[in-house]
Subunit: 311 residues, 2 copies
């Protein structure tokens, strides 16, 4: 297995990415190798410092870099030798089994959708994220930013993608799928959620109905379905609270589980290979967990499960 | 001035409403009177208990009641003698200057829109709510539930309604109006926010651009514009955090300001009279503040300001 990792992406690149790769590598078995995409010369000092041999990794040396603020589509097209563009080229060609980056989210989305491409039958891939649950564990919310406007058919597919992810990657049995809405009753909602409700109802997944903003952290749903606009707004609002509790010095096991570091990034669900996007501020710990989640997605043959379900 | 108050609405009616009215009455001047809509026989014992003369209030005795779970439109039509229906009849006829209830939100919306009616030029009235700001004070968010689907023209008008409310009722000079979005850049957003941006930009209000979920509690915007779906989801999510900090025993001045009781309910902005909707769980303190906010809205001639602006 070859796990692709962009070491040029993220606010603390390449250091955080290289240190994260080193940490992850220790947890991998002999037949699992991390392939680092980036400027090898920049990476080597960190390996030396940690007493790690460069031979523990494979390198794809890249000379271009896509900055965090660059336009997604344009940058991927204009910088074919960037770590992100080359990563997707390798992923498309089967030279790596997964690709992860804490870099430019737009470029990652464009790369995933236009080079690796959606699984046949999937209208729009979605970005999923983990949200902590009050009692324990976490739920999966999607979409959180890839699709600002969704059609009901797209939203209903998110339910399926999220359900398969929860089941196969996190081993949640028969995951409960809820539709984020402004009220619980079936008839409540905007045009989008009202039209999505019957589609989810007749699908094969365990659809438990509408949920509300107040249900994000309780156990009603394992999978929370929403359009990317709503998901983005909710996620950023929830993050505010986490940051606030940190600032105010409130110590609590639940709030601790907001820490993005432990979740290993956000997968793009519905494309032909595991692709993971890390938080821009990713620490070595976050990168490590992103590599390990990549491995799990490859090991569980998650993409095959999606292909099977959408056949 | 005559301030209408439904004493049959809310989870703790009529007791909480009557006690709230008694507390509010003490703060009113001699020419300001509260008109109570509801079952007088049920109200009298609470007045007696508090040593308050019924003559301090006016009563409009009602025999019907609209329950919290009833369908808004149907209930208003089918129960013309309910406290909510009669309240709106009095408001429409000019026998009271404002009307407030902690009862059925749907019925309140229907009553406001179909009996008091929108101010000419206002496409859709909006429900506004207060959100606490980290530093101090609070912002105004609208819409929070009256309009699940909005057209750009409607959303742009919310900016104007919210700006006028912040300026005239809360005396915020030149209020900063932000558009809730998934990114700060002008081109970011879903079709709705992308189309609303230029409309807000060319309006006369102090539009400061897009804001994100993380900006709800900071000082970027005094007025937060969003469709009712997004507003409802955000509000319920934010409430969760407040409840959580209470449960976990975190004491903090900022979290304390989440307490809905102090804000006096949510006004329906853009109709021809001040109409206020209280939280279903309204306490006497919340009801008192709702009456006092009603007074402020009448005193500041807020509705005239709206009429003037939309002429």
């Amino acid at each position: 297995m070859k796990i692709g990792l962009d070491i040029m992406g993220g606010d603390f690149a390449p250091k955080a990415a290289v240190l994260g790769a080193i940490a992850a590598q220790k947890a991998l078995s002999a037949d699992q190798k991390i392939v680092l995409f980036g400027d090898k010369a920049q990476a080597l000092p960190f390996l030396t410092e940690e007493g790690v041999s460069p031979d523990d990794f494979e390198f794809v040396h890249t000379t271009e870099m896509i900055g965090m603020g660059e336009h997604g589509t344009k940058s991927v097209l204009q910088k074919p030798n960037s770590s992100i563009s080359l990563g997707f080229q390798y992923l498309k060609d089967g030279k790596i089994d997964s690709f992860a980056s804490a870099g430019n989210t737009g470029a990652m989305l464009v790369g995933a959708i236009f080079s690796v491409k959606p699984v046949p039958g999937v209208i729009r891939p979605a970005v999923a994220t983990n949200v902590p649950k009050l009692k324990s564990g976490f739920g999966i919310m999607l979409d959180v930013g890839a699709n600002a406007d969704c059609k009901p058919e797209v939203l209903a597919q998110f339910g399926m993608l999220g359900s398969l992810y929860a089941e196969h990657v996190y081993h949640i049995q028969n995951p409960k799928v809820g539709l984020m809405n402004l009220g619980e009753e079936e008839e409540k909602g905007n045009v989008l959620t009202q039209s999505t409700f019957p589609l989810l109802q007749k699908s094969d997944i365990n659809f438990i109905g509408n949920i509300e903003g107040r249900d994000l952290f309780n156990d009603k749903a394992d999978v929370i379905v929403c359009d990317g606009f709503t998901g983005n707004v909710m996620l950023k609002l929830a993050e505010t609270f986490y940051i606030l509790t940190l600032k105010k010095g409130f110590k609590d096991e639940f709030f601790d589980r907001f820490n993005y570091e432990q979740y290993g990034g956000s997968p793009i669900l519905g494309v032909n290979a595991p692709v993971l996007i890390g938080h821009g501020i990713s620490s070595p710990e976050a990168i490590k967990n992103m590599v390990l989640l990549s491995r799990t997605m490859v090991e569980t043959q998650f993409v095959d499960k999606i292909k099977e379900a959408f056949k």
